[in-house]
Subunit: 470 residues, 2 copies
Amino acid sequence: MSGDPENPEHPERAAVAALADDFLSDLREWLAIPSIGVDPAHRGDVRESAQWLADALRRDGWPEVQVWDAGPALPAVYACWPAEDPEAPTVLVYGHHDVQPVDPVERWRHPPFEPTLVGEELFGRGASDDKGQVAMHLLGVKAHLAARAAANPAVTIKLFVEGEEESGSPHLVPLLDDHRADLACDLVVFTDTPLYARDAPTICTGQRGVYGAEVVFTGGTSDVHSGRAGGGVPNPATAIARLVAALHDDRGRVRLRDFYTDVVEPSAAERADYAALPFDEDVWLANSGGAQAVSGEEGWSTLARVWVRPTAEVNGIHGGYTGPGLKTIVPADASVKLSFRLVPNQRPEQVAEALREFVAAHTPPGLHAEVIPLGDGAPPYAADVAHPAVGALKDAVEAAFDQPVRFSRTGGSGPAAILHDRLGVPVVYLGATLPDDHIHAPNERVVVPLLLRGAEAAARLWRLLPERLS
Amino acid sequence: MSGDPENPEHPERAAVAALADDFLSDLREWLAIPSIGVDPAHRGDVRESAQWLADALRRDGWPEVQVWDAGPALPAVYACWPAEDPEAPTVLVYGHHDVQPVDPVERWRHPPFEPTLVGEELFGRGASDDKGQVAMHLLGVKAHLAARAAANPAVTIKLFVEGEEESGSPHLVPLLDDHRADLACDLVVFTDTPLYARDAPTICTGQRGVYGAEVVFTGGTSDVHSGRAGGGVPNPATAIARLVAALHDDRGRVRLRDFYTDVVEPSAAERADYAALPFDEDVWLANSGGAQAVSGEEGWSTLARVWVRPTAEVNGIHGGYTGPGLKTIVPADASVKLSFRLVPNQRPEQVAEALREFVAAHTPPGLHAEVIPLGDGAPPYAADVAHPAVGALKDAVEAAFDQPVRFSRTGGSGPAAILHDRLGVPVVYLGATLPDDHIHAPNERVVVPLLLRGAEAAARLWRLLPERLS
Ligand SMILES: [Zn+2]
Ligand SMILES: [Zn+2]
């Protein structure tokens, strides 16, 4: 790290440095709680994780701390620290404390719930996604208060940490609606996205949405021997394959009706930034499941393909006999799980409707088709990079990381659009993790110095915002 | 049954009628032995089944009976009953005594190895495929001897009953070669095919061949989250689907190189017979796994599609996540099991080669393709309907069934072509079972009066052959 922590130009950095040891030991305590939200067996752990966070916030001095555990949603934590100035803007920090399952557990080098520090890296489930980044904000608020030597922050800071993000936030909308007054704010700071790279810190400006569905084709009531009927009846597995093959045209574009009609391209500033980011294809492929080649929609770079272009992917396909050897049947049915990554301003409902039409048009005579939505999907979101909050964020991050930062996006999905829609305010992204943190995989880790930089950026942002949003 | 069994024009019928009770009790004994050849746990039962048959043949007076149980093949039974006249032709009857597995066993109305007579139907695994038809031949020989009141048949009759047909006859070629002298003959009578229908008895004149292979496309070394790489890397499941979709053209023809080059169409006599056979599409569909519509190569009837036209079918397809809900991954790999039904004079080796080329041409950059043959396949076979043995067979069957019979085929596969190739003689088909006997399925049965007619047809054939083949 460059910059002198004792330099009065860097009071936030000095404060973060002074609090770093406590931060790390607190985070390790929290990471030891296996709050696997998607696994009902870990329901108690999710509750314990929420309680741990509430206790930590109270220890830190947050005046108002609540655990929301009344409805069907897994427990969420809410806290509020009002600004000195009642006219100051209100920001809501969003994150989540539920974590992904740990299978295959045998591939972890350290037990997933025994957080282990190896050099600068802290290994453990949730270290990066998302407990590490929530803890980063707790540190950021403490550093902000220490740096300005005040009992209250420069903006009213609210914290909303849900427990169902990894389950697709199924109860987020009612939760937001039930707590509308508590959550009222001028800006959401969404904290669940990575930097582009350690040597290229960036500000994320958007996430893709997603819509998933399963298509099932059924022919007969049972498999039939192909010696009897092969060549004489429709084969549901062949039909599913033809449906999938028809999903893209020769240029790699998705052939659902009006799929591209509402697509908004990123701003010129963002496009220029994407092109200027360092991109090593071999490294990117190695970090993409060891893929052997890039591929996709004609006329777009790999980063554009995975950040700002919508897609159709087969997540799973199944039909007939898949055991050892040959079994010469015409299967009774076959199915495919499809998911579509969406970009602004595509809507999951529109894609769902177009998919139903597409399946109907590609169902051969003699087969019955069923389209089963897999959840409601998540709309895409992109921040307006011309908004003054983005300018403040950029200044804060550049100061904290001691270098110019560019814009990036992430190809994954999250509830940013829901927060935007229900709360009626802009959402900006502040994250300090890395794309190769192995989130959702064995050996999840976080790079601790980046979390400290992120906390410093947050502390700086709280200082900058009153003037920038006025 | 019409026809007077005491009428001297029907001595074979009278003999069959006199022997029918013993026939049935013998068959029930044999069917009680669970000779499931594909299941190593039933190896002893296959041996017991072979021994039962050898004992039954000795009881019947066959002068030479052997159990071939030396090599890797499951035990086969060989027997020979020389003709009175050393110049008389030699026929070899082919059948098998191994049976299919019985899963799902809970769907059997009677235990599969407790043969149960309900009216005219005998239920039990192997009743139709193929013990019932082998037993029919034992009865046929006894009736032939009784009808001509002789100690020896009019032709030298050899019997070869293998134990591995349901396993794809993997050791048949070496078995035939090892016993070349024993098996030398002028004609093979192949007994493992059905009549067209109870009210439309037919002579089968051919079976399709088969070639099966699995195609595997591999992209990365692991699945990758579609939020990271979706839209930017090739998806093996999509590629497998495109490969399958490309296998047929718009008219339902298979697009492998030279796939149709060697196809020989059936004779005009056969085509006329197919068109004249009663065909109820609803019944056919109901008996074809409950399929809802016919479908297939343009310009051909359903019977032609499943009897004399080659096909490509997906028997199984698999890739990615197929559990409950959505998992937004790009799978690391995907695979499809394909099988091709072949007709004369297609060769499995040629199709295997064309498939390899086709897969290579349809492997997108970044994916690795593997084509794994699932066995050697079986060549197709069709009898020359102008051969005098077919004429004799037709006369024998028409006399036994008291009606004109037409030619039919079956869409399944068997070792007829191998017998033809290795023994160097024509193969004709004599069967007396039905397509809806539920072979390879729960509640397999055989219609006993049809087996008696079949035995009579065999007995008549042995009487007719010396003159017809001279
Ligand atoms: Zn997350
Ligand atoms: Zn059989």
